[in-house]
Amino acid sequence: MARFPFSAIVGQDEMKLALLIAAVDPSIGGVMVFGDRGTGKSTAARALAGLLPPIMAADGCLYGCSTQDQARYPGVCGTGKMKSRAVPFVDLPLGATEDRVIGSLDLERALRSGEKAFEPGLLAKAHRGFLYIDEINLLEDHLVDLLLDVAASGENVVEREGLSVRHPAKFVLIGSGNPEEGELRPQLLDRFGLSVEVRSPKDIEVRIAIMRLVAENERDPESFAARWAGEDEKILKRVAKGKARLPKLEAGDDVLRDAAELCLAVGADGLRGELTLMRAARALAALDGAKSVTRKHLIAIAPSALRHRLRRDVLDETGSTVRITRAMGELFG
């Protein structure tokens, strides 16, 4: 399937915004997408990776090291020359083994020459890009633990099979899944920065528009891509400007207080919620080209930043989003 242009994705605004925010500030900690199959989750994630400008990485480096990485990890990369390559997008298949994810002993070299060499896994491949896991809720827990741990530390440390390897692995983790088919442990959910809920659009006109666009893309991917290139370029510029602006933006005390009050009111456990909320508001402000972070940004991003951190009560059918919106109404009017 030809990569679908990001700007041609109809609706799903919350998901698109969350992905852009993660692109502006990868330290937010990944995006979890809840929703049914066939709602364009993987299309959107892939499209975003296709949209971002190529990165400079050491030529032939299996880890996609930048110059900073070369300095920090002299052992893995050496001093290869820089060459541009596309932002990596790694699709982690369900049922992937731990070996394939973190990397393992290179069997071939071990057997042929008795050499102890490391064969990089998917984490190495995803460095500086995106790691997408469809149906993450069905992934075995020890793998999810491992992924979140690496995503948080930005580094993959392998100590097994007589290997001792440390290599950079900074990526935006994008998980998706349908909670009705099994849930993620709350501890794991909490580690995701943002979460969004996507539904199949119910509006017939929207669905028709999507069918038409998909058919057009199937028929002639090249001219379709050309037609949307301008729009994609605009988004790309927004992300680039947002990235540049981000370090200059700081959330003021009033916004910090708002964030704390909101987290308290909805019962979001832990400091992580507040921190993510604040960071996400800041990234949104940067993306919008705003001069400062305001309550408006906080309100816009709060559902995504908090909905997966609320304590669930099975008997209370009220959705998390509703509870957050209600709390914001009471607090901020």
Binding site: G95, S113, E161
Partner: protein, 563 residues
């Protein structure tokens, strides 16, 4: 074509197969359910026009995706690459038998290949149990699902070689798109993939018939082939009944030409016609489920955590000879140790040209073994209220004790939750300990009200904890279903009933396997209702003793079977 009976399910399956053959990449593939002679004939016929490559269930990553052929590399002394099955099947399709038992690992690889347009699939689904099904992530990506269990056809199937091409057919117009979208909405088909498949199927049918645009009959056919098998609800009846003179669409996709004056009227009713066509084409067993208001049962394997693979994790034991494939890991040190004594001999054999540090053979390879951990935890929730206690509690205790004895042999675990009075209690966390279980049971008193909701919630929490650890859980609830204590511990039947339903729905939402054993002396409707709300099975055992309960539980829930 040798087919005469248009009503036979094979007829539509043949149509689907012709579409699939027209453009395997566009349609992704097909699921063929039911092991009838018709299916064999269809697969044989399909094999004439599309190169089918069999995909065994035990295929390993190297064979599926390509990689180093370890055995060949060792004997040649240099790395020998092999192409994967997915690449080898390029241009054709992979054929997977017993797809309902397909490993998630393989399914994951195939999903990726489908998403990258690198593969096309034919899945043979031989499921007999309602909760067995091929992985949903795969079937979602295949356009067609054909139910051939009840086909009476047995003659050879000949698929005409495709003449037209999809590219020659014009894109669907807005009316057609709208009608398809409306039909999908009426059938509760949310996935946009399904909708896109339906549009392509309509164009494909036009291509097969040599038309350059999709006609009404093509749309009807697409709805029948793609949308109807995916229905999750029955179309709601319109407020105004459809006009009586509207003839039902011809079931076999026969062309009917409309005069221009009728064109307007036809377009207005197009979605009605499509909905009607879909209704007529919903497979019988799906129809029965939908009519009962039940959503189709999902493959339960997707919801209850990963199955244990004893070969890949657990407590390491020792190494044994074998090839590192299918997730089994090479024990490098043991393999080298096995090869060392032979080096002198092999070097003489290999001659001077071989400069490898160590000469290994396939028979040197050792793989690691791991201890298998408990595959399944069965959680018993026992109603110890006054009403149930009178006669049945002793039997329930006996059944649990028997199960536990069996669990000891089969390495599965048991947990015990009891509810009575105004609380539910985890008497026994998942365990294999016979003595602890016996003691907990013996100390279980009877009497008091029936806080069924509390009992269900407690059992669910235990099950969730079990699933979170990567094991699968099953609930067995022994109760008379007559709840009279609410979730907050206060008495009152109406609230107790509401809370029980909510608790049961929560169990269903988690997809936990459950069984309700009605232990009241005269079973009323409550027990069955409870089972339905949980999406579980129901057994009424008015006069059963411990052994009968155990036999029944085993029959429904084969606990001894390693999952």
């Amino acid at each position: 074509m040798s087919l005469t009976d248009a009503a036979d399910p094979l007829h539509d399956a043949v149509l689907a197969a012709r579409l699939f053959a027209l453009s395997p990449r566009t349609f992704g593939g097909m699921v063929l359910r039911g092991g009838s002679p018709a299916r064999d004939a269809l697969v044989a016929g399909l094999g004439e026009v599309v190169a089918l490559r069999r995909l065994p269930g035990h295929v390993d990553d190297e064979r599926l995706l390509g990689g180093i052929d370890l055995a060949a590399s060792l004997s040649a002394g240099r790395p020998i690459r092999q192409r994967g099955l997915i690449d080898e099947a390029t241009g054709g399709a992979l054929l997977a038998g017993m797809a309902e038992r397909m490993d998630t690992r393989i399914a994951g690889r195939l999903v990726q290949a489908l998403d990258d347009d690198r593969a096309a699939l034919v899945l043979l689904d031989d499921a007999t149990e309602p909760d067995e099904a091929p992985p949903v992530s795969l079937t979602e990506r295949l356009a067609f699902a054909c139910e051939l269990t009840h086909s009476r056809e047995w003659r050879a199937v000949e698929l005409d070689a495709a003449k037209g091409t999809l590219a020659a057919v014009a894109p669907l117009d807005d009316d057609a798109l709208r009608a398809l979208a409306a039909t999908a909405a009426a059938l509760g088909v949310d996935s946009l993939r399904a909708l896109i498949f339906a549009g392509e199927a309509a164009r494909g049918l036009a291509a097969l018939a040599g038309r350059d645009a999709a006609s009404k009959a093509d749309l009807t056919g697409a709805v029948r082939l793609v949308l109807a098998p995916r229905a999750t609800q029955l179309p709601q009846e319109e407020d105004a009944a459809p006009p009586e003179d509207q003839p039902p669409p011809p079931p076999d996709g026969e062309r009917d030409e409309q005069s221009d004056s009728e064109q307007q009227q036809q377009e207005l009713d197009l979605s009605d016609i499509l909905v009607e066509a879909a209704k007529a084409a919903i497979p019988a067993d799906l129809l029965a489920q939908l009519a009962q208001g039940n959503a189709p049962r999902r493959s339960s394997s997707s919801g209850t955590g990963q199955k244990r693979k004893a070969a890949t994790r657990g407590k390491p034991l020792g190494a044994r000879p074998g090839m590192p494939r299918g997730g089994a890991k090479l024990a490098l040190i043991d393999s080298l140790r096995a090869a060392v004594p032979w080096q002198a001999v092999r070097r003489r054999e290999a001659g001077a040209g071989n400069d490898a540090a160590i000469l290994m053979r396939k028979e040197d390879l050792r793989i690691r073994r791991f201890e298998e951990r408990a595959a399944r935890v069965t959680i018993f929730a026992v109603d110890a209220s006054g009403s149930a206690a009178a006669a049945r509690l002793a039997e329930a205790k006996g059944a649990v004790e028997l199960m536990l004895g069996q669990a000891y042999v089969t390495r599965s675990e048991v947990a015990l939750v009891a509810f009575r009075g105004s609380s539910a209690e985890l008497l026994l966390p998942p365990t294999r300990s016979l003595t602890r279980a016996r003691r907990a049971l013996a100390e279980l008193p009877g009497g008091g009200g029936t806080p069924l909701a509390l009992g269900l919630n407690a059992a669910r929490e235990v099950a969730e904890a079990v699933i979170a650890r990567g094991r699968s859980a099953a609930l067995v609830i022994l109760t008379d279903g007559r709840a009279n204590i609410a979730a907050d511990g206060s008495p009152g039947r109406p609230q107790a009933k509401l809370d029980t339903e909510a608790a049961a729905r929560a169990i269903m939402a988690r997809g936990i396997d459950s069984l309700v054993v009605d232990i009241s002396a005269r079973p009323g409707p409550e027990g069955a209702e409870l089972a339905r709300a949980m999406g579980g099975r129901y057994l009424a055992l008015p006069r059963a003793d411990a052994r009968m309960i155990q036999a029944a539980i085993n029959a429904v829930q084969p606990i001894g079977k390693a999952a």
